[in-house]
């Protein structure tokens, strides 16, 4: 159904990675999950992701740093930030080009809706090698 749509999830929380995997795979999306910004960097170099969910608070590289890296490599990837409490980092992320920010604990509908909106807004996705 949505097998051609690639989604990247960057979160250090295992439960979050599993949840995203289960929900999005169930809806037919192509899901890739990684633990941190570094791993995300590696993945994004390999293939294009339509949407990337990035946790704001992470070790190694925080959400903003990860955002910068992704935008640099793949400017067309829509970036959705996730935070677990209101933080200056979230606001900063939106200024830096994030599509939106969802707050944990979120409804799964928020996730699917944000993906659908993003896809609808992007008719011609490009793959950056």
């Amino acid at each position: 159904m949505h097998a051609d749509i690639h989604i990247l999830v960057v979160d250090d929380e295992e439960v979050m990675r599993r949840l995203f995997t289960d929900i999005l795979q169930d809806q037919g999306y192509n899901v890739t999950v990684v633990c941190n910004g570094e791993e995300a960097q590696g993945k994004i170099k390999d293939k294009f992701f339509d949407v990337a969910f990035i946790d704001v608070h992470m070790p190694v590289m925080n959400g903003i740093q990860t955002l910068h890296v992704i935008r640099k490599i793949s400017p067309d990837t829509a970036i959705v930030m996730m935070d677990s409490f209101p933080d200056v980092l979230s606001e900063e992320a939106e200024k830096q080009g994030a599509v939106t920010c969802i707050h944990k604990p979120f409804n799964i509908k928020e996730v699917t809706e944000v993906i659908e909106k993003t896809i609808a807004g992007k008719k011609h996705p490009k793959v950056k090698e």
Partner: protein, 621 residues
């Protein structure tokens, strides 16, 4: 018995009764005693006179009787003077020994002269009994002179006293006594001296009987005006003899009437030395005259502070109470002075003061102890409050981390629950779906437990300990629990936490919650000192041979300057921004470790990192 003999006989009995009566009234009073002696003269006289009142007695018997009762008529004048001296309060005269010589020497001399035949020399038989004739020698004239002068002097004393006294009762007494004694003196002299001298023997000698008028007057004064019943002297003597305080009774002219034994003991005088002298001789002058005026106006004065002057010229401080003593008729009888020896009072006051001081000191000590105890209690309370405040501040700092920590599992729970609900809405529910759902529920359970653990640890950490009872605890466990609450905080800051807890780590006695507070403080400090990320290494081990456990927190943060290290454990000392720290964390940690009989030490190299070493006594090993 002849009529005359009967008359003497009756008189004898009357005198005898008077004698008893006067002594009965007040045997101790000098006045009564002297009066009794005077009466006794007439007892002898009247008794002897019986034997010359009848011719049935021989001339020799009459002579013998006369010689016997001459004691009476030779002495009555002397006793009369004595009595009136006492009555007129001639204390000064009475005090002198010579008085008694001139009083009684003539009486003895004339009695002797009678016995040796120089006064009444012969007896003449008469129809009524025996008459007598006086000798022609000089002695009988001398005798006349003696008794006349003495009697006149006695009358004069009473007359003078009655004239001078301001007391109406005494005036009346004196009047009666002067009148009756003059009548008796004149009639007696006529009967016994003049008629006999003129050799008119038809009338018997009746001076003894006639004297009933005189002595009757005295007795009348006794009964009618209470001469001897109650006197200031007797009252003072009887009632106040046993008083401990010094008592002096003085007459309105400030002469001492009597003093009690306590006064004599205090002053070292003999009673006779004091009686009759002015009270000012024993009072140390001062303002006595003024005080006396005041006394006359008020009737009583109290707390007159003055001095006694003893016989050895020593001054004794006294507090004098003075009160006017009035008789039934309301007339001033004297002044009662009661002196309290202030040396004793002062000594007692001093003692009381000392005791009071001791008691006050004890009271102060007791209050101080109570206050100290209260302050200690307050301090403990304040300390507990401080610990709690510091802890809550730490919890506040944890806020973001805890939210992050909780929101992740909650996100999982919420997500899986919603996901499953979606699945259940679908018409077809395959066995695969069923398996998936079981997996999701497991996730939900796991994440719920995680939330529960976080909340539990947070509550455990922030709860105020009900009792600070020290119990055996595992440091490793306490550290892990602490990390479970704040570990995420570190993770967010890119701080890699490594723990090295030795498996043989000894248990320590303590309050878990409190020690966790210390660990949390140290870890949070480390986190704040490492804003750019770094390492935190936590090691817990036994110190060899010391029964102690050492916990090291080694961070790679910015370190602490030497100067700040000096103040690191001071309350409210902080290098953090105002909203980031209270400055209580380490001071409270220090306090907690002290309470655990442990030690906390901080070593630091600016730019390289800080090492916090906590040492706690071990148990069981």
């Amino acid at each position: 018995m002849s009529l005359l003999a009967l008359l003497h006989f009756l008189s004898f009995f009357i005198y005898l009764y008077m004698f008893w009566f006067v002594l009965y009234k007040n045997p101790k009073a000098l006045l009564n005693r002297v009066c009794a002696m005077l009466i006794f003269c007439f007892v002898i006289w009247t008794f002897g006179a019986i034997f010359i009142s009848e011719v049935i007695y021989s001339k020799n018997t009459a002579r013998l009787a006369m010689n016997l009762y001459s004691i009476g008529w030779c002495s009555f004048a002397a006793f009369s003077v004595w009595f009136d001296l006492v009555f007129a309060k001639k204390e000064k005269i009475l005090k002198k020994k010579i008085t008694y010589v001139w009083l009684f020497l003539p009486a003895i001399l004339f009695t002797y002269k009678q016995w040796t035949g120089f006064l009444i020399v012969d007896f003449i038989s008469q129809p009524y009994g025996w008459s007598y004739t006086w000798s022609k020698s000089i002695w009988h004239l001398l005798f006349y002179a003696y008794y006349s002068l003495y009697m006149l002097y006695a009358v004069y004393l009473v007359f003078d006293f009655g004239r001078k006294t301001k007391r109406l009762r005494e005036k009346k007494q004196a009047k009666i006594m002067v009148t009756t004694s003059l009548i008796a003196l004149n009639l007696g002299s006529l009967s016994n001296v003049l008629l006999q001298e003129l050799n008119i023997h038809r009338v018997p000698a009746l001076a003894d009987v006639l004297s009933l008028i005189w002595l009757g007057g005295i007795v009348y004064a006794i009964t009618r005006y209470g001469l001897m019943t109650i006197s200031p002297e007797t009252a003072a003597e009887n009632i106040l003899a046993t008083m401990d305080d010094s008592l002096i009774l003085i007459d309105p002219d400030s002469r001492i009437i009597t003093v009690n034994q306590a006064t004599l003991d205090l002053l070292g005088y003999k009673k006779q030395e004091l009686i009759g002298s002015s009270v000012t001789t024993i009072l140390s002058d001062g303002d006595y005259a003024e005080r006396l005026k005041e006394l006359m106006q008020k009737g009583t004065i109290r707390d007159y502070n003055t001095f006694y002057r003893t016989s050895s010229k020593e001054k004794i401080p006294i507090s004098l109470f003075m009160s006017l003593l009035k008789d039934k008729a309301g007339e001033l009888a004297g002044i009662v002075c009661i002196a309290r020896d202030m040396r004793e009072i002062r000594r007692l006051l001093q003692k009381e003061k000392e005791l009071a001081v001791t008691a006050a000191a004890a009271e102060v000590e007791r209050r101080r102890a109570t206050e100290l105890e209260r302050l200690n209690q307050d301090l403990k309370e304040a300390q507990a409050q401080l610990v709690q405040s510091a802890k809550m501040a730490a919890v506040g700092q944890l806020g973001a981390g805890v939210a992050h920590e909780l929101n992740n599992p909650l996100g999982g729970i919420l997500g899986y629950a919603q996901f499953m609900l979606e699945k259940l809405k679908k018409p077809e529910f395959s066995p695969e779906d069923f398996q998936s759902c079981a997996k999701y529920i497991e996730s939900i359970e796991r994440e719920s437990n995680r939330c529960k653990g976080i909340v539990e640890n947070l509550l455990k950490f922030s709860r105020r300990p009900i009792s600070a009872k020290h119990e055996p605890l595992d440091i490793g466990e306490a550290l892990q629990e602490t990390l479970s609450i704040i570990g995420h905080q570190l993770k967010l800051k890119d701080i890699a936490v490594s723990t090295d807890i030795k498996p043989d780590l000894a248990k320590v006695a303590g309050v878990t919650n409190q020690l966790q507070q210390v660990f949390a403080n140290i870890i949070l400090n480390a986190q704040q000192a490492t804003p750019e990320g770094g390492q935190l290494k936590i090691t817990a081990k036994n110190i060899a041979d010391t029964h102690k456990v050492e916990i090291d927190f080694v961070d790679s943060g910015c370190g602490i300057s030497e100067e700040n290290l000096l103040h690191i454990f001071e309350p409210f000392f902080t290098t953090k921004q105002k909203d980031k720290g209270t400055g209580l964390g380490l001071s409270v940690s220090y306090q907690i470790i002290q309470e655990h009989k442990g030690n906390i030490e901080i070593k630091s190299q600016p730019g390289k990192g800080t090492t916090v070493i906590v040492i706690l006594p071990a148990i069981n090993k």
